[in-house]
């Protein structure tokens, strides 16, 4: 399916929910925050949040800042 992540649209296979998406991308769920179709998803709900074709996600993490 086609999903937009951080502004870039890509093809993803074998992705059903946020947990599997993060696995696919090699990201640690405990170290990121997710917006799914503009709604923030708490860590506890990653597995329960289904991803569909055409969805848009923002994945952010902490970086250095003042």
């Amino acid at each position: 399916m086609q999903i937009t992540v951080n502004g870039k649209t890509r093809q993803f296979d074998a992705v059903t929910n946020i947990t599997t998406l993060l696995e696919n991308l090699g990201l640690d769920p405990a170290r990121v925050a997710i917006e799914h179709n503009l709604a923030i998803v708490p860590l506890a709900e990653f597995s329960a949040t289904t991803i569909s074709d055409g969805d848009s996600l923002e994945i952010v993490q902490f970086v250095g800042g003042g």
Binding site: L25, A33, V60, V63, G65
Partner: protein, 256 residues
């Protein structure tokens, strides 16, 4: 040195450290350790999914340091609130350094968007530390709606010019009912000491620690500066003397 208390929580350091602009994570950690700080600011940015970087969090011991996410990058209240909520969702305690800086030249904070965002975030239960220009009325309005501190800038971010806004900061300190943290523009330990001598409750330093070749040493120097300034303030500084003024007696009428 007496404890700093913000939102009912005690800290034994009055020096907060920003983690931006460091040449490496190791340099950042050196600065944090040298400073003795207990609060560090971090920012939120999109993960580069083609090239995910080493997570910053791997280098910050959450037992030792309170993570204070900032909303840098936000240009208006909506973006700031969104970033704050994301930070909270990422597992942070609900402390937020509210920073709304649409001006890309001087990175000066937008007072109106900052206030709007603060109102929303306070209601959502965040402990809000708003970064503002040294505007005493804005500071009072933010305190009124329940922000945990105010953080007036000493000089624009990254300029290392010291406490250029001292007159306004003095008024803010005089009128404050929450801790005042002087943030931005502190380029030398003497600047930090000066802010503390004025009666500021804490300072936040980033650029000065990131651009030096010796972050640990500079951070240790800032630590001393902050402590010296605070102790001088508590001990009661002598003031500059005004010139004596000759005037005809105002109290000559008293005869008793």
């Amino acid at each position: 040195m007496d404890d700093l208390i913000i939102a009912g929580r005690r800290f034994n350091s009055r020096l907060m450290v920003g983690t931006g602009k460091f040449s490496s994570n190791a340099a950042m950690v050196d600065a944090m350790e040298g400073s003795g700080c207990q609060i560090v600011t971090v920012a939120l940015r999109r993960v580069d999914i083609d090239n995910p970087a080493d997570s910053l969090l791997a280098h910050i011991d959450r037992e030792k340091y309170l993570l204070l996410p900032n909303t840098s990058g936000a240009r208006d209240a909506i973006e700031a609130v969104r970033l704050a909520r994301l930070a909270r969702a990422a597992g942070c305690e609900p402390w937020i350094k509210l920073e709304v800086t649409p001006d890309p030249y001087y990175l000066l904070p937008d007072p109106i968007e900052t206030f709007k965002a603060a109102e929303i975030l306070v209601k959502e239960g965040f402990i809000v530390l708003p970064y503002i220009n040294a505007d005493p009325v804005l500071a009072k309005r933010l305190q009124e709606i329940g922000t945990a501190t105010v953080m007036p800038l000493g000089a624009p971010i990254g300029t290392n010019k010291g406490v250029r806004t001292r007159e306004s900061i003095a008024i803010i300190i005089e009128q404050a009912i929450v801790p005042v943290v002087v943030d931005a523009g502190l380029g030398a330990p003497s600047h930090a000491a000066f802010a503390m001598e004025m009666g500021a409750d804490a300072v936040l330093v980033n650029t000065a620690l990131a651009v030096t070749p010796n972050p640990r040493g500079m951070a240790a120097a800032f630590k001393k500066g902050v402590e010296a300034g605070r102790e001088a303030f508590l001990a009661g500084l002598g003031e500059r003397r005004d010139r004596a003024e000759a005037s005809s007696p105002l109290t000559g009428f008293l005869r008793d």
